[in-house]
């Protein structure tokens, strides 16, 4: 597992700020009516293979998670629905343009940046959850320069991640590889100095560590006597129980709204 973890180490570094190419200018995207119409189409024609939540099934891939590694533009999803994927079980369709865009709108709601879709919950209430002591998110995560530096920056989390992925990272942070690049580390240097923080990047030869003050330390492994790494994420594992259903929903609404380009989106084509 550790070998796999380190082999994939570069991925969260790349994904941290989002390389999301799903920005769309089409009027159906983020439109509740289009999403609702697309939901019906999806449940009737797509859910059998891709699962009712897009989470994947025996014949179709997980649409939500794959968006993290291979995001498709809305136009590309449109073409995939139209033409299918040759050599796979994904068939072409004969939907109208409007129907196809409704379906794209639903898939975008599942897989596109959270900020481009209507999120349930109250972002104002979620703001209090985020900055409050019960959740304590800001101890480790910063938004626009405010908050801790140990965890990933969340200034653009809504602008780069689907809502389902944000939710999963909160309630099941150890499920996947969210902690990679954010492993708690204690370094005893040969000069006797000890450093604590998160290992942002590590090889057999060098280590880049960010400490609790948010300061980066570049460490050569030849200077290290002893390195202790946490096998799991520093992110608390109990948010599913710690927060009420409403608190979690509101927190998600607040995070979904974190978009460094909020308000800059183009209108319909």
């Amino acid at each position: 597992m550790r070998a796999l973890a380190f082999a994939l180490f570069a991925v969260p570094l790349l994904a941290q700020h989002g390389r999301y190419l799903s920005d769309s200018h089409h009027s159906s995207i983020g439109n509740p009516q289009a999403i609702a119409a697309g939901t019906k189409l999806f449940m009737g024609s797509c859910a059998g293979c891709h699962g009712p939540d897009g989470g994947g099934g025996a014949r179709g891939p997980n649409l939500v998670r794959r968006a993290l590694w291979h995001p498709l533009s809305d136009e590309a999803i449109f073409q995939v629905i139209r033409k299918g994927v040759a050599g796979t079980d994904m068939p072409p369709t004969k939907l109208t343009d409007d129907q196809t865009w409704n379906l794209v709108a639903f898939i975008h709601a599942l897989t596109g940046p959270a900020s481009t879709n209507p999120a349930p919950g109250d972002p104002a209430a979620g703001k209090n959850v985020y900055w409050g002591t019960k959740a304590g998110c800001s101890n480790c995560h910063a938004i626009r320069g405010q908050g801790g530096s140990m965890g990933p920056d969340l200034s653009n989390v809504g602008g780069s991640r689907p809502l389902a992925v944000i939710r999963e990272a909160i309630v099941e942070p150890a499920k996947d590889l969210y902690y990679l690049g954010n492993e708690a580390a204690t370094v005893l240097l040969k000069n006797g100095k000890t450093l604590n923080g998160v290992a942002k990047n590590r090889s057999n030869y060098s280590l880049q560590l960010v400490d609790a003050k948010g300061i980066l330390h570049l460490i050569s492994m030849t200077d290290v006597k002893h390195l202790t790494l946490s096998a799991s994420t520093p992110m608390p594992l109990d948010y599913g129980a710690r927060l009420s259903k409403d608190e979690l929903r509101d927190l998600l609404a607040y995070l979904a709204a974190q978009d460094t380009r909020a308000g800059e989106r183009k209108g319909s084509k």
């Binding site: 626009r144 923080g197 003050k213 980066l216 570049l218 006597k225 946490s230 380009r261």
Partner: protein, 532 residues
Amino acid sequence: MMRMLLLFFALSLGGFAQVRHEDVAKGAAEDWLTYAGSYSGWRYSPLKQITSDNAKNIVAKWVYHVPEAQGLKSSPIVYQGVLYITDANSVFAIDGRSGRLVWRYAEARADKGGVNRGAAIWADKVYFTTTDNYLIALDRHTGAFLFSKKFADVDKGTTSTSAPLIAKGKVIVGSAGGDSGMRGFVMALSADTGQELWKTYTVPAKGEKGSETWGDLIDWGGGAAWLSGTYDSELNTLYWTTGNPWPDYNGAVRKGDNLYTCSLLALDLDSGKMKWHFQFTPHDTHDWDAQSWPMLVDTEILGRKRKAVLHANRNGFFYALDRVTGEFLRATQLIDKITWAKGVDEKGRPIMLPDSDPTPQGNWVCPSVKGATNWMGQSFNPGTGLLYVLTLEQCGMYYRSSQEPQPMKNFSGGGATEEGGQVFLRALDPKTGKRVWEYPMTGLGRMWTGTVSTAGGIIFSGDDDGHVVALDAKSGKNLWHFNVGEMLTASPIAYSVDGKQYLAIASATAVFSFGLFEPAANVEPPVIQVKD
């Protein structure tokens, strides 16, 4: 482990090093804090571990391949061992000793493609601009987003490519896009908030002074400011160069000098007010932007000590001006073959030769559209007293189109091609403007590499064939070379970590760092423990 982390978090924040004005003002040393290494634009490093004697022992220390890069034009910034390098709409923080990526910031939603020439650093923030004209500030340790500010509208033809220059808390940015019609400007934004402080257009508005040098196309006149400038803190003056007028090759539709294109502007840092201007190429019709570094050097010129600004121009001449007054002092030929002007007069205005304008059939003119030099970083070495400039001996065809000019449609009023030619790295004496030595290169005139010179007496640069080279600063003798296997398109820098000197340069797709050979150390490996 978690408790331990939170305990550490509870400790007071602050108290770490920050980049201050005086750090940038003192020039490069261990760090390289601004695009050209210093406000005066010298690209000079006082590091002297690597010398002309031991340059033969230079080896590659690491290489970082920039994902999806196609022609990096970025010159790294270095602070406390971290290199910050940019590609279009992205910044990469790289460990200067190991070449490992520390963090990456990418703005995938920028509304345009393009290039980027570098980042800037101030306090604890790293700054860069996106192709769609956002200034973005990031935490230098983590790459966390701090703020962004949109400073121009891409829908009005403006894009952004240059590394910002930061002086006294003001982030100076410029405008690109002049070849398709736009109105150029230089602008200051607050380093703390991104708030606009001033904006100075490089082309006057209709009715303003200078507008009489234009016709109806003045609103789209160009004069882009697509390269960073230099700064004299004593005079509190920015020196910024401007690009060509639009449409590039058809001067008939914009009769007059077309102020303030192809010029050097002296701007007050606090207000942006133009103190003086000097136009190198009035009414340019060959796309000879003035974008080459205005180097601030105090030296004797024509028998008198001067606060000079030196400028090797794309039009083929090497200029010296008084940077206090803007007075023209001298111009000499940068390249051997210039066919459009027989020289410059006592005011610095070119003495034109007939039949040099682009024509519908094509007109053969020297220098070519790439120019006698271009935006490649020049270097001034106070040890040798010489200026090092990449030059291109090349001619080309210039065509004029009689089509109706249409802004923002990739229309430039004609076109240009270039053929053959040869790149020379030339050492010039600022006192006389004359050539001291030259290093001829093989290749096809495709390189965009600049130079860095050091107190160790070397010039570090790249040739026109994909080799990084070290030359003796006094003689131009080749001391060392390294084949990166692709074209070099950016300017090098020097830095130091833990007392070891490095020389770094971006090739088309990767960043290389070089240093002196050291045998591998036999070190006891650390104990690594993984705890649940």
